[in-house]
């Protein structure tokens, strides 16, 4: 039973969060900031698209850096 629950949870984690949990966290933060700003009367429509681009760029560059480190270690 516990094994079944664990694999069920693992499936959903893998399905939604995937390889890099930081991407998921960034998405939540981006929408939270957007919502907070809207709540206080600021229509920051440009924020989410730019933050998304920065998030993807950051994640890809981190992957590039870690692949470079792996190559140097060999």
């Amino acid at each position: 039973m516990r094994r079944a629950l664990r694999s069920f949870a693992h499936f959903w984690y893998d399905f939604v969060i995937g390889d890099d949990w930081r991407m998921a966290a960034a998405a939540v933060v981006i929408l939270a900031v957007t919502g907070l700003a809207a709540h206080h009367g600021f229509n920051l429509w440009w924020f989410a698209p730019l933050a998304v681009v920065a998030t993807v760029g950051g994640s890809v560059l981190m992957a590039l850096r870690s692949s470079g480190e792996r190559r140097r270690d060999r």
């Binding site: 929408l31 957007t34 924020f47």
Partner: protein
Amino acid sequence: MHTALLVISTFLASSVEMVEALTIVLAVGLTRGWRSALLGSGAALVVLAAVVAVLGPAVGHVPLAPLRLFVGALLLIFGLQWLRKAILRAGGLKALHDEDAIYRTAVEQARNTSSTGREMDWYSFTVAFKGVFLEGFEVAFIVVTFGASAHQLGPAAAGAFAAVIIVGTIGVVLRVPLGRVPENTMKFVVGIMLTSFGTFWGSEGAGIRWPGGDTAILGVVSLVALSSIGLVLVLRRRQTLSEAR
């Protein structure tokens, strides 16, 4: 325009997932017989259709703003993962998705598993069911979320259904894994679409008013697409430079 983008997105997402599912079904079908493989695939498609039929209208009853915030967040999380993988693949930092190699592995596994000798081959049934269900579940998720957020479940489901029919027909006619389908490019486009729609609906659900209304989605798609292509070019250049050293 909005509807066209929506149909293209569900069609492409469904096509790539169905190509992957087809590889598994072909591997067990050609190696161990078709009956159980097709029964497994059919059972999975029925379950997936039921998921869309039940969840689609149910999600449609949720008020639009909270729905778009929730769905937008999920699509954004989901889309960012697709896009990251697609950029890393296109930039040469991650191995490309190779249907032919996956097919060979699946055939090998199917051959090495003993047959029960009975009419119903449960190995084939289970492998085909699992393959179609797991690949199709992502599509069901995309159809339900896209359809509910845009109040266009019909067009979203039609895009996915068209892909199932087209890929299924090609698979039945050719009976080889569709290794020549530009799957990695399609995944790249789907990643851009999921990320863009997630950003658009998530922001709208969070209380943002987009300049230009729904047409703003084109601006978001363009920004995400251009920056992603730029990242691929940077990665490729880095790869070329490091190989030259």
